[in-house]
Amino acid sequence: MTHDPRRAPPADDQEHPHQLQIPQDPPHPEPLRDQEPARSRRDPETRRRDHEQIDRLADDVLPDLISRLALSGLGEIEVREDDWRVRLRRPAPARGGAPERGDRGHDRVGDRPARSGAPANATTEQRPPRELRDERDGQPARAPSLDAAGPGASAGDAAAHLAGTHHVIATSPTVGVFKPRPDVRLGSRIRAGDRVAAVDLLGVPQDVVAPEDGVVVDTLVEPGEGVEYGQYLIVIEVAGHVRPGADAGGASSAPMAES
């Protein structure tokens, strides 16, 4: 864990039941798994263990790390455990200075400029679209669909699929400031799991992830606008190659139709 000496250590969240243990002296820091040449050589048992590890990292370690990084003045946090390593880096301020406080003159969501000059191209290494999982049963949540009745309605609505093209929406993974990606525009073709935008949580960008393969057809909020958890952000048109009644959450690998 890299400490920036200018600031106190990150706020300690003693109340959090799943507190992260950060080993001072990692037992097997190297080699890192992702530097190993041939992933395919893993036996099924190793594979299973790796997947369990990844799940645990995404569910427990990452939210905790993001929380620490966001609250701290640190630039970077790294955790090593066994042969895994997770590093979160806060993007450098755009013009070198300390993050500027937003103007307080307005009182509507969306009127607020971004707090820090964080460019949108920096990443946390947060990978899978965990935010799209339904917290209640751990099952992947269905992507919200414009064609269905609302956020709670089934996106796998058979009629919509039969009609061919349907729409799904990428939602906000947290509460913060919306940051589009310069390389994602109207008409951009994206794949399920792609990072299509970010929401800035106290200077730490959180990925907005495409729920399905498709084409970006609309962005529902302006850059710099404040958004809440679960807010609809980007509309994606999905070509109608899904079997009737198929789960919309399962990304189709069928080729995209020209839109």
């Binding site: 003693q14 939210p63 993001i66 009182d107 607020r112 917290e135 947290t174 509460v175 809440e228 958890y229």
Partner: protein, 465 residues
Amino acid sequence: MVTRVLIANRGEIALRILRGCRALGLPAVVAYSEADRESLPVQLADEAICIGPADARRSYLSAPAIISAAIVTGCDAIHPGYGFLSEDAGFADAVRAHDLTFIGPSAEVLERFASKEATRRLLGQHGLATIPGSDGMLRDDQHALGEAERIGYPVLVKPSAGGGGKGMRMVRSPRELETALQVCRSEARSAFGDDSLYLEKWLEQNRHVEVQVAVDRYGHGVHMGERDCSVQRRHQKIIEEGPTPALTPAQRSDLAQRAVRAVVAAGYENVGTLEFLVDQDGNTFFIEINCRIQVEHPVTEMLTGIDLVATQIRIAAGEPLGFSQADVVSRGHAIEFRINAEDAADDFRPQAGTVERYLPAGGPGVRMDSHLYSGYDVPSYYDSLLGKLIVWGADREQAIARARVALDEMVVDGIVTNLPIHRALLSNPEFLEGRMTTSLIDRLGGSSFLAATATASAAAAGRRS
């Protein structure tokens, strides 16, 4: 300056804070989890913002999400309510670091009073008697057994962090102690993320009395009298009232004055509550301080006419208290009944479900603080508190008479509540004579009490139909 408040809590306290803000002319934004989208505070707020999923760790306990929500909604202050992050010094510090006002004590003050054991020592030095207890935190089982022997059984095993009876056990022998240490450690670890424990002498037939204080940033403090919280079930308060029937007026005033002197001297700030155990002879022992608004604060509000939430906000904004001890006048008697979604017949298991019909009680001296409405879905993720009925009377007899009417009138259909327990308690001689101790409900927990409960609720139902 506080001009717009983010309420980082849920249920009845979010509603209470919203009302407090409104009365001060402050707009308020309610931060809510996905499970609370349909809740009353969200519906009534000036603005509401979803901060995360139902899991409190990613919503009501997520400091970054809450601070970010305050910033994007243009708030300059955060009210944490009770529970969740309300006494978390790290959170208070992070709020301040983002140029926001934390409505509560400063991070330094929360830090100073964070450990119950250290607080006992600190306030002990400032003139409050404390219960004989272990010398610091328990290092291991051997240390615990030695300390228990020195203090004398029975002893109470207590966690340093948290409250609400979690991680707490009374034991009467070394053997019970060894088992309790394991259980308490694991409960405390999962509830508070901290498994340090200490021991306290267990007082038989004790009563629980607490003193409400308010101290501004300039060291000016007042007390607002005491509340008796002896009616508990497994260390969780169910009924609170003031004044306490356990002490004489002279004893009460002496206790309250010593309490406020001690916390002012120890550097406390904002509203807070000092909890004491009172033994059979009227001796008082300080046990802990709560650095937040409490569930039972309406008892004091009914007695004194002081708005404690408003007081809390004004102190946090840096204003002087604006009144002195002589201005605090307590009139009459007030009793609060916590209405919980729990089934007494099923070991008080918490209940979730839809409230088919909700009729609050009314009438002179009756106050209902609740986020219920007919058709509301009680989510299963959070605590079981549905609301509080508070009654005021010129004296205890009148307060009890009004409580009887109010409890009979009140309807919460569709979900099992503890209303029958309250109705039964109002015919319990120990309670009626003001002789209740903290073991009352647990002692009565057997079949006789539940039978009385059934009779009382049947009678109430009969009157209603």
